[in-house]
């Protein structure tokens, strides 16, 4: 009897519920709970696809590594939605950015062609701003859209190409699966992040290089047009299968924006609460096949792997070692006459970084890092280089750091020609970095939060 009557009570009111549901379609919902505090801002500093929030570099003080929005949805539609449902929904909005400005004084700039020709410069490259929107979808999924741009190198700053669109992608994710398509981080660039002032300061060693790039824009190594699928096991193990158009500024691949690269990667991410304590908080391996035209030496395959090792686990004064090793093979290039040659010729390289992060009372305060890399080309005699950067960052406030770095790179004679400069280059940098993020109309939390990891992710 009781149960029956209870049902009656619900039935009496259900018409009202139904009416409200209909109203949701056309009437914007009242403002939802606002984002709370810096915690929300921190969650906005998610990584690109396949990572979802707290990644291997959590806790870093310096890093001008542009925080990338992980989220998106559609507001102010430019065109009608394929499913013609009136849009009155207020998605979560995220803004994230990174201001990086340094005074560079040096000789011949650093690697990858950055700053070649200048003895000094005011460098604001890698400064970025990204916008994202995200909303919950039916059946617990989350959809998002991210759009962002960053400032590029001095070499292009006078040509009207100051801004490079590094993010423009849509993402769909649910418990085990994530799919994304658009311009974003090239998947091979996500395994390890190095604590140089700018992520690409020693890009010849710390990234898998784009064999299609002509070298004028260093961002072409880190960002590409990607269609990716990422599967996860327990939000700890991620397998990413993807196809890419890596920007072909050298014209050595598929014409236009056709697919020219295919790969698979695996990444392990530990508990984000324990990145300073677990001995190996993250590691990954990957393989990428690049369809370089035969006239440019033929296709190239690269295998790479790396990770982070906490040499001295500590939440107050930790010492970690980062490693990325890679080897490419299959391309027949046997001379280095241009930067593009140096990106696609068969080579082996290794990058290592020793970092000390001092966090008295658990809050990052300062950081020292010594990053070094070595590279050699297997089919070209006397072709090798090494680079080293000593970096320092001091936190002046939440996300706002003073940074300084001295870098040096030495190239063999065979390489020097490709770089159009001398055998060595050096630069001293001093400046400021500001990483920030803010979330509005919050409704989507970070996927890899510690609580979600406890129960393998639920949308809440």
């Amino acid at each position: 009897m009781k149960n029956k009557l209870a049902t009656i009570g619900a039935v009496v009111l259900l018409p009202c519920v139904a009416a409200t549901t209909q109203a949701q379609i056309t009437i914007p919902a009242s403002a939802l709970a606002a984002a709370i505090n810096y915690a929300a801002a921190k969650s906005a500093r998610a990584l690109g696809p396949g990572h979802n929030s707290a990644g291997p570099d959590t806790g870093s003080v310096s890093t001008a590594n542009a925080p990338l929005l992980k989220a998106g949805a559609k507001v102010g539609q430019a065109q009608q939605s394929p499913v013609k449902e009136e849009v009155g929904f207020q998605p979560q909005i995220e803004l994230a950015g990174s201001g990086v400005a340094t005074l560079d004084i040096g000789r011949n700039g650093l690697s990858g062609g950055r700053g070649i020709g200048s003895r000094s410069q005011i460098n604001f490259s890698d400064s970025s701003l990204a916008f994202g929107a995200a909303q919950r979808l039916y059946h617990g999924a989350i959809g998002s859209f991210t759009l962002g741009g960053l400032a590029i190198d001095e070499a292009n700053s006078g040509t009207g190409k100051q801004i490079f669109m590094h993010q423009a992608f849509l993402d769909f994710q649910e418990l085990r699966f994530e799919g994304y398509v658009g311009r974003t981080n090239t998947p091979s660039a996500q395994i390890v992040m190095f604590p140089t002032v700018r992520e690409d300061d020693l890009v010849d060693y710390t990234s898998v290089l784009n064999p299609f790039s002509d070298g004028k824009n260093i961002e072409e190594h880190r960002y590409s047009n990607v269609a990716g699928l990422a599967f996860n096991q327990g939000l700890h193990s991620f397998i990413n299968v993807h196809a890419q158009h890596q920007i072909d500024s050298a014209g050595v691949g598929e014409s236009g924006t056709g697919l020219n690269s295919f790969g698979v990667s695996y990444q392990f991410l530990g508990n984000p609460a324990l990145t300073s304590i677990e001995r190996v908080p993250s590691w990954g391996v990957g393989l990428e096949h690049r369809a370089v035209k035969q006239r440019a030496g033929g296709s190239s395959t690269v295998v790479y792997g790396g990770g982070v090792l906490n040499l001295r686990p500590s939440v107050t004064n930790k010492l970690d070692l980062r490693l990325l090793a890679q080897a490419s093979f299959g391309n027949d290039t046997n001379a280095l006459t241009s930067l593009n040659d140096s990106y696609r010729a068969d080579q082996q390289s290794i990058a290592l970084s020793l970092r000390n992060l001092y966090s008295p009372f658990g809050r990052p305060s300062s950081q020292w890092a010594l990053t070094a890399g070595f590279k050699r080309y297997s089919k070209i005699s006397d072709a090798s280089s090494f680079g080293v950067a000593l970096s320092y960052a001091k936190s002046l406030g939440a996300g706002f750091d003073f940074v300084s770095q001295v870098g040096y790179e030495r190239r063999s004679n065979a390489m020097a020609g490709a770089f159009g400069g001398g055998n060595d280059s050096a630069v001293f940098q001093v400046g400021l970095v500001f990483n920030f993020g803010s979330t509005f109309n919050q409704q989507v939390g970070p996927r890899r939060s510690p609580t979600n990891l406890l129960h393998k992710y639920i949308p809440n």
């Binding site: 009897m1 009781k2 009557l5 209870a6 009656i8 009570g9 619900a10 039935v11 009496v12 009111l13 259900l14 018409p15 009202c16 519920v17 409200t20 949701q24 919902a29 009242s30 403002a31 939802l32 709970a33 606002a34 984002a35 709370i36 505090n37 810096y38 915690a39 929300a40 801002a41 969650s43 508990n271 984000p272 609460a273 324990l274 300073s276 304590i277 686990p313 500590s314 939440v315 107050t316 004064n317 008295p360 009372f361 658990g362 809050r363 406030g397 939440a398 919050q442 409704q443 939390g445 970070p446 939060s449 510690p450 609580t451 979600n452 406890l454 129960h455 639920i458 949308p459 809440n460």
Partner: protein, 418 residues
Amino acid sequence: MEKDTSTNESAIGRRQLLKLGGLGLGTGLIGRALGAVIDQQAPLSKPDSPWQAAFDPKGTVPPYAPRDKPKPGEKIHQFDIEVTIGIHEILPGVQTHMFMFNKSYPGPEIRVKEGDWVQVNLKNTSPEFHTIHWHGIQIAMEMDGVPLGTQWPVGPNQEFRYLWRAQPAGTHFYHCHVMTTLHQQAGLIGSLIIEPVGPDIVQQTFPYKREYTMILSELDTNFVRNMMSEMVVMGTQMERMNHSPSMMREMNGRMMGWFKNKAEFVKAVDKGYIPPYLAARTGTAMPITPNYFMINGKSYPMTDSLMIRRGENIRVRLIGGGFMPHFIHLHGHDFWHVCQDGSPLASPVRMNTIPIYPGTTSDIVIQGTNPGFWHFHDHSDLCTTNNGQHPGGMMTMLMYEDAREAGIKWEEVIAISS
């Protein structure tokens, strides 16, 4: 949370009562106040005993010395309470991570007699710190559950044993007192009912067989999600650091924001400690904005109804378990406000809307005087929504089980409403 006050040994249990009522044979079986009122609406009989409560200037003196210890032979009730993090469903499709007492939100009701000894074995298997505060209980200070005030907080995989004597009688509750903004909101609350040893003045005046406990609370799902993650990060780190002697040395009060006294705190700030409330660490503080409003952890329409019959008295224990005031209104009836914070009022107060403030408890008696199906809800309209959509939230129904016998044609009501 309904309780049938009839004991297992009583001649007529609730299940039997309903059955008999349905057969029209319930006359005289539902308490002394029922009288002969089943078949037609009739005024309630006058209470057998007048309200006995009176002002007593010594009334706040604990009946038993709070610092007493159990004497040999005295019975001690033992309860095991474990704190975990679980997934709680407020409504179909709305799940959130919550802290839980014994994997339940709210936690299990503790019900003992006044003067009984109670031992609660708290086990913390969550990656956070917790205590239990016994709200309204006159207790020895060391058992009061205030972290860093009367005890060290209970860390991950640690246990703590509370021992206290149940007093004073009445409706109370218990909750975690660690960072209550988060922990109480995120689920660590339960009702604590202490029954009087002697006659219950409410029972004497308004004989009842059924009673309900309603814990009123709110939830800001975004706040809980974000802050719980922050706290779990810290707790997880500290639990792991406990396994390493070198890392244990890294832990200190400043990391946790713990200081011996004000002077130590001021000294630390002078030396560069940056308190978490400063704009340099927090930015602009955003207010907590609850989007779900719950009765016993559920929002309408998933709240449990209150069941009543004509002529019956039911006792409802309302507990302000959240951080907002609520104004609970019953349609079609007046009711009696009989107890506040556990103690009987000097005289029952007739009302139809009662404010329930955070941390307070109010007992009311509803009398079955107007058969039908009646809304019983917070009259603060924000709180009758689910994520901004009405109806929802802190709302339930008072349902007459014998409405049909009273001539309520509810099938027609449904047809019209549909």
